[in-house]
Amino acid sequence: MRMHSTWAAALALLVATAPALAAQMTKVGNVTGDAARGAQQYRRYCIGCHGPAGDGQGENAPWVDPKPRDFTEATFKCRSTPTGTLPTDQDLFNTISRGFVTTAMPSWLPLSVQNRVDLVAYIKTFSGKWKTEKVGTPIVVPPETPVTMESILHGRQLFQKMECWKCHGPAGHGDGPSASTLTDSKDNPIRPYNFSTGTRFMCGTTNADLYKIFMNGLDGSPMPSFVDNLPPADAWDLVHFLRTLQPIKTPEAALWKAWLPSHASTLVPIGPDAEGQ
């Protein structure tokens, strides 16, 4: 009987801790991460900025702008999951592989897949949230709507209506009236994304990446989630308009450039003067 009680207690403990153990496990595709190996990689590549404790207080941190991510908060910008939730292992892996354009965070693509997955595993050891909270469920990105002038123009209206211009500026230059007042979750000044110089976004390069950015928001930054305010079709329209602001060749930009010369006079300038229209 005593033996049975012991086994029962052990089983109960196992059941109780199973979610936490599962949360600690890191897997990207068929590759399983190992935090111990990740610690070695972290020391070699990451510690200078993110610090020994993962708190973003590495010796380079004072000289880096934007500031390095504080892993102890488990707050991440690039997620496929809703705002306020933990990202998936794939999200963290993608971030390490891609880096952050216009920041000190480079792309670590040359590292082996195993090395990067190990890093993901180690990064997750810095916060207890990975043991107590569940990873968010990735949002479903619906099929993209056709790129048309109507879609682009509607996206332009949404850019005005959703007040994107207040931070990103009327022309997407990152110079809106609120731009200079923005701070991140650590009260560090932060600049809005400048569409006119960026060929890539913070969290990817595709239209779907851009869709996820403003539907999920960039946690830790002033960029909110618009998932409750934008129907998917509207979100795609906004994506199509934002693409016209970039200095790269895209189907949206080609359509826009062909249309604009003969219709420029019909456009109401984006900005405070267009409020309420």
């Binding site: 380079n60 216009t102 920041t103 480079p106 792309s107 670590w108 040359p110 590292l111 082996s112």
Partner: protein, 503 residues
């Protein structure tokens, strides 16, 4: 000290530059009062030593007086290039981000170099840096060394063992590399010591032409696209501070080429997104990187061109790491006839003709077993008989090495290397087949007490042992004179403990 070094024509060269690192080692000076003596090819030993091609640290190349034998030597392997803290300062990354152990590159560093010293984060253009930022760094290596060579001819003995030791410094490398603009990078690296400063590297590179990483054009003087970069070598002693196959020349050769020497020309190279797949094709002057169109042995370069072709492929081996293999081929020629000035003696540079060919082809690998790295290298060399004094047939040889590293962590590593040169066929059938053969074994460790994003320091300790048959050791240790006879075995040994630092 500078004067002393200069007067004695110390042949120390730590050249090593490869694109990025700068190191300097200097030669511990030296040791032997190697008096400049004419070689059979008409170029002074001193000129050979300090001349154009670049070489690794503490190394001076000396050619045999009577046979022009294989080669050259190193005093204390010097180096040029290596790790460039200027990049660490620019991007706020520690040395270990780009280097397995600086100056050797890891996969991330290789990609950074291949992209023209750009991270690709839209902040590579120097306009994003404070105007006070300069893309400059220097490297040198003060320390203590001991050299020993057997069977040396002295004033009192024909088979003496010469031992030399003392504190010394290596050459200094001034590494200036970076971007002039987005997708336009440059390199400018003076290196040397005393009166022997040379321009190791000077080029401009146009990166990502046609918006493709597969087309990058570099023009100027630069290191060949060697997967096993001698400019980033981790050994620094006189005996072990260079790869023998990168500089070996057979007995009697009038050639001056070395794979490890920086060359002047133009190179097209390309790579895929993660630089796992790479290629390069270079068109180069046939004068081993001598400026002013000069050529071998001051005889004047020719009007032809050399070609260098490389290709490599890396594989993601999971927990083992990133494994890379590569092949290469250098197909060169050297003139055997020249146009002379009115004095009938002075060669007009760049007028050489009646070219005769030579080649170096081989393969190289870089394999990881987690923290254990193995680097095999092989080269087959061939020289046309017209490039060898007294030859009636082409000369051929093989050189191969295996180098191993164990990285305890980013701040401590151990290394070892076995490096061989074996003649296959002498140009002169009367020359003993083994003359010029050489075996070198090296072990050492490097400890990096600091590992951050502003500067680098390494305590370097190394022991190297060499055995050369019938020629002056390539290391230059000893009296720099030929061995007493073609069959004499000259054994050399180097001990070096030094502080290798760059800022």
């Amino acid at each position: 000290m500078l004067e002393w070094l200069s007067d004695r024509r110390i042949t120390v060269r730590w050249t090593r530059l490869a694109g990025v690192t700068a190191v300097l080692v200097g030669g511990l000076a030296s040791v032997v009062s190697a008096t400049a003596r004419p070689t059979t090819v008409g170029r002074s030993a001193a000129a050979l030593i300090t001349g154009a091609g670049s070489r690794p640290a503490y190394v001076s190349y000396i050619r045999s007086e009577s046979n022009a034998v294989g080669a050259t030597a190193v005093d204390w392997a010097g180096h040029t290039s290596a790790a460039i803290p200027a990049f660490a300062r620019k991007y706020d990354l520690p040395c270990s981000a780009c280097h397995t152990a600086w100056p050797e590159l890891n996969a991330f560093g290789q990609r950074f170099k291949d992209r023209g010293y750009q991270l690709g984060n839209d902040r590579d253009n120097p306009i994003w840096k404070d105007p006070s930022y300069w893309p400059s760094a220097f490297r040198t290596t003060p320390g203590w060394r001991s050299e020993r060579a057997t069977n040396q001819i002295t004033s009192t003995d024909s088979f003496a063992t010469v031992t030399q030791s003392g504190f010394d410094i290596g050459e200094a490398d001034f590494l200036n590399l970076g971007t002039l603009y987005k997708d336009i990078s440059f390199g400018f690296v003076p290196t040397g010591f005393g009166g022997d400063v040379t321009l190791e590297t000077a080029y401009v590179r146009f990166d990502n032409l046609f918006n493709s990483s597969w087309v990058n054009l570099k023009v100027g003087k630069f290191e060949l696209d060697n997967l096993l970069s001698e400019k980033r070598i981790l050994t620094l002693s006189s005996t072990g501070g260079f790869y023998q196959g990168y500089h070996f020349l057979p007995v009697g050769s009038t050639n001056d080429f070395g794979i490890g020497d920086n060359q002047i020309g133009a190179e097209i190279m390309g790579h895929n997104e993660n630089s796992y797949r790479r290629y390069s094709i270079a068109v180069l002057n046939e004068n081993d990187g001598e400026p002013g169109l000069a050529g071998a042995n001051d005889a004047g370069g020719g009007k032809g061109m050399d070609f260098n072709v490389t290709a490599s492929q890396a594989f993601d081996a999971g927990k083992l790491g990133v494994e890379r293999i590569g092949v290469y081929g250098y197909f060169g020629q050297r003139p055997t006839a020249f146009t002379y000035a009115s004095d009938g003696v002075t060669v007009i540079p760049g007028t050489g003709s009646t070219n005769k060919s030579f080649s170096r082809i081989g393969f190289v690998g870089d394999f990881f077993l987690q923290n254990f790295e193995v680097l095999p290298f092989f080269v087959h060399g061939s020289e046309n008989q017209a490039l060898i004094t007294g030859a009636t047939q082409n000369a051929t040889w093989n050189s191969y090495l295996v180098e191993a590293h164990y990285y305890v962590n980013p701040q401590l590593m151990f290394l070892g290397r076995a490096d061989y040169v074996k003649m296959s066929q002498q140009g002169d059938p009367a020359t003993p087949k083994t003359q010029g053969n050489s075996d070198v074994y090296t072990i050492g460790l490097r400890y990096y007490p600091i590992m951050f994003s502003r500067a680098g320091l390494s305590w370097h300790t190394e022991f190297s042992f060499g055995k050369t048959i019938g020629v002056i050791p390539m290391s230059g240790i000893g009296n720099t004179a030929d061995a007493p006879d073609p069959g004499t075995v000259v054994k050399t040994a180097s001990v070096l403990t030094a502080l290798d630092f760059d800022f």
